[in-house]
Symmetry: C2
Subunit: 544 residues, 2 copies
């Protein structure tokens, strides 16, 4: 047994970390039931403990912290006897007790013995490594979305048959690009997201497609020093490009080996003419992009995105901690692994701030949470991450416990950096956090814009999420759903609660699959062709 | 000459309404140039007047109101001589002078002699009349968007060849449905929009498609008394439907002859199983929907949406007033015609309030403008509808003049009603206003959700907009753009400024085309297959 992860001790009581005071009942327990031993001694249930609820593994005196996930989830409000049901009647959490430690904890992650893992990736001119090799049609505004889809539709797999190294031609369409204030926070965020995709290492060529009178200019999306022209073809939409880019004070850091071509519908003469010109542009890109080949690269070149959607009572005890194991392993090897979904840590942010490597990293997270308070207030709402009645019925007692279940995706590694939505994430950075909503497509779009090259997505209810151009591995939290939706799932972490696999075993399986997928193995969502509709830049601010 | 509309007096000076004090120069005018007569007497230019700018048609004493579009656009700040350039140097507008008359003006619209126009429409069970006959796949959440597109992709025109009365199978996908607060203003607005499409008279059958764990429930979208089952097939997603609908306090008023079927991906067993079930459901709908036929109905059954995008200096003097002529004609016959795009009247709202039939209608518009002030402030922005430097260079002097150019789409009819975004609009209502953003796809989505069955869209820069299931007629404001993008335009209103057609002639042409299109004639955007990507419900509020 390694790194504080419990092996498959029990199908009846799941202990998430050695030293925890509570385990999770995986079946309804009756008083007097004998439970598998913890610390060698057999445990006898004192109370009835419903499935998914907590049972005390040892005596905890009143006032002492109660540990789950190796962390304090609250304080015993009475003396708790081993074998008791632990819930709101004997476990409390006082909001006022929370301290925002700016760093302070440090977790040493051991690098396993043996050769370092590698994967077969695309080394790009800027040094980053891609896991796929796509041509993207990137739209500056919704007005060019239909045209982008028409161009992409001319390149089905049958047409791409002669270009085996090309993963596809993907339209990246969205619903904005006009009716917004370009200099606003929302305008800057949209621009950052679109430019992040243009610069993504999984995209080797980009056709930027605009209408012509939109607020977001095609020239803002894929400019670089030396201009955006490709193969001597004039960049039709870009006569005013330098001025426009200078006006916004931005120049995209797009790899020198990314082919770039721009078109606007108005200058090209309408939809049909633009489809013809766009198809011609993509046809010219195909043989160049097809020459790109995979090579062996070190595991530390990966930028992993962690996410979850359609969570259930098993998420925090199966799929999320197993993913956390894989994340810690990648971080141990020197890669980058990004947690996100800020609303899910809201109110329990010290779970992350105390892991910060430097105080300013912790402070940046606290600043983002202040931003969220204002954002929610402006929308006449508030953020409430407290356990809902449904959460409580399922066995979650405190906000700490609930947030720990979500944060478990990020393992135990120190927090190296906090990024804003769609900010470029550095490779070789370690464990990082990106500020995104919890809403799946919006969160993952930000992470991919930031450069994530593989996504792992845990789901309890059964998400069918995918996100091109980055492959997305879906991990089921429970066997019932996995069985029902087997065609949509890559991994079954439900085996942890079934007692047929340990957290470590599933974690290793996820880690190995990340490498295989990074090397080209298709995820189920890729086989299904899912991942274009799910490109959704976060929209912040007013639509006018 | 009828109803205050000027016939083709001039290519050099365009007079928008009899009695106007100013005309618009359609070429650069030099001092001493003789201009076509106004009120019989010849006019000699006193100043240089740039193209698009205003020239005084008669003397206007200092302090008098200056009329354009038959309305006061400002006050003479000096004595103005006939033939002078009229702009910021001699025309002013004081913000403080604005009064919000709650009604007060009334325009009598004469019904032309002769038989009443009719069109060939689909009379639906609820009495409304459709102009198309679609099967829609309506998604409750982005998570089912890819699956919806896969189902629709199984019904290309070749497959529909045997079903001549079916216009198509359209996926209506969007980017929300989760990560929002269902009880919030934004949640209610999304639900209203989706339900408006489910109830649209151009949709004869709806397959509601959800994932299963989203916040917007499939059962909220297409429930009605008697349940949503179709042809005895169980409505898979709807076991809890009545409860869920009751919980939200809403029951859609969907016509009794609309076929309804619901599926969720989680209950159906994943993407592939849902595609199979969805394709089967649509196949069963096809022969039923194909039995629907067109019949002669009165013109007053039309619900027209007015919109513009990519405006230019010609919008307010060619396409918009010509569309206003057609709108007034429809209103005269007793139809409904809806103006929208609130930011474009912001600051000049009395142009509409004084046309209100009842004070409470005017007050509702003022209430919506107050809402916009708060909306913009919450997004840290402000609404500024004043003429920009570019507008001023083009010849627009005051906010009134600029807004009049936009509002000209709505003709002169009295204002019968003000609707919130996506609210169901009553037929036979007359001229109405719907509160929407100016951003084209969001504005038109609200209008179509409200029941608009034909859209007319004016554009100067060259929009390629389309919006299924409602046909959208595109009107070019200038001949140069019309010629360049002829495949994307339905009407050229640039002829008005070329002097080759009058406002009335183009207005009549638009009116006749509305009837032809309502009867089944395809618009260019329909021929191109545009109008699915452009379904964009207005997103208001926080994404979590
Ligand atoms: Ca989540
Ligand atoms: Ca999520
Ligand atoms: Ca407009
Ligand atoms: Ca518009
Ligand atoms: Ca519009």
């Amino acid at each position: 047994m390694s790194a504080g992860v419990t092996t498959g001790r029990a199908a009846e009581v799941l202990v998430l970390r050695d030293g925890d005071d509570v385990g999770v009942a995986t079946r309804d327990i009756a008083p007097g039931d004998t439970l598998p031993g913890v610390d060698a001694a057999p445990l006898v249930a004192v109370d009835a403990v419903p499935r998914g609820h907590k049972v005390a593994l040892r005596d905890v005196p009143r006032g002492a912290g109660v540990h789950k996930y190796g962390q304090v989830i609250g304080v015993a409000t009475t003396d708790i006897t081993a074998g008791s049901h632990v819930h709101a009647h004997n476990l409390g959490y006082e909001e006022g007790r929370r301290e925002h430690e700016l760093g302070g904890t440090h977790t040493e992650l051991a690098v396993p013995d043996g050769p370092r893992p590698t994967f077969r990736g695309y080394r790009r001119a800027d040094g980053r490594v891609g896991t796929r090799n796509f041509i993207a049609i990137l739209t500056s505004v919704n007005c060019s979305a239909s045209t982008a889809k028409m161009i992409a539709a001319q390149f089905p797999s049958s047409v791409l048959a002669g270009f085996e190294n090309v993963d596809g031609v993907i339209p990246l369409t969205h619903q904005s690009g006009c009716g917004l204030v370009p200099d606003s926070e929302g305008g800057a965020m949209l621009l950052r997201t679109l430019r992040g995709y243009a610069a993504h290492p999984n995209i080797s060529a980009v056709l930027v497609l605009g209408l012509g009178c939109e607020m977001v200019l095609t020239s803002q999306l894929a400019t670089r020093d030396g201009g955006g022209a490709f193969l001597g073809m004039p960049s039709v939409g870009a006569p005013g490009a330098p001025d426009a880019a200078e006006r916004m004070g931005v120049l995209a850091d797009i790899a020198a080996d990314t082919l770039v071509q721009s078109l606007t519908i108005q200058e090209t003469g309408g939809v049909r003419a633009t489809v013809r010109a766009g198809v011609e542009a993509v046809r010219a890109m195909l043989p160049v992009v097809n020459q790109r080949t995979r090579e062996d690269v070190d595991v530390s070149e990966l930028v992993l995105a962690l996410n979850c959607g359609g969570s259930d009572g098993y998420s925090g005890i199966t799929a999320n901690p197993a993913l956390g194991w894989a994340s810690d392993r990648l971080v141990a090897y020197g890669g980058t692994s990004a947690l996100a979904e800020t609303p899910e840590v809201f109110g329990a942010e010290h779970l992350l701030t105390r892991r910060a490597q430097r105080p300013e990293v912790a402070q940046k997270l606290l600043d983002r949470l202040e931003w969220w308070k204002a954002y929610a207030a402006a929308g006449n709402g508030s953020l409430d991450n407290n356990p809902s009645p449904g959460n409580k019925a399922g066995g979650l007692t405190t906000i700490l416990e609930k947030s720990l279940g979500a944060v478990a995706k990020g393992g135990q590694a120190d927090l190296a950096q906090v990024y804003e939505y769609a900010e470029p994430m550095a490779p070789h950075e370690g464990f990082v956090f990106m500020d995104t909503p919890g809403y799946d497509p919006v969160s993952v779009t930000g992470l991919v814009a930031g450069g994530a090259t593989v996504v792992v997505f845990t789901t309890g209810r059964g998400s069918v999420f995918g996100c091109r151009p980055a492959p997305s591995i879906k991990v089921a939290t429970n066997t019932e759903m996995y069985t029902r939706m087997a065609e949509d799932m890559d991994v079954n972490a439900g085996r942890i609660v079934d007692g047929t696999a340990t957290l470590e075993q599933v974690g290793q399986e996820i880690f190995d699959l990340i490498l295989a997928v990074a090397s080209g193995e298709q995820t189920v969502s890729e086989e299904l062709g899912i991942g274009v509709e799910e490109f959704i830049p976060w929209h912040v601010g007013t639509v006018t």
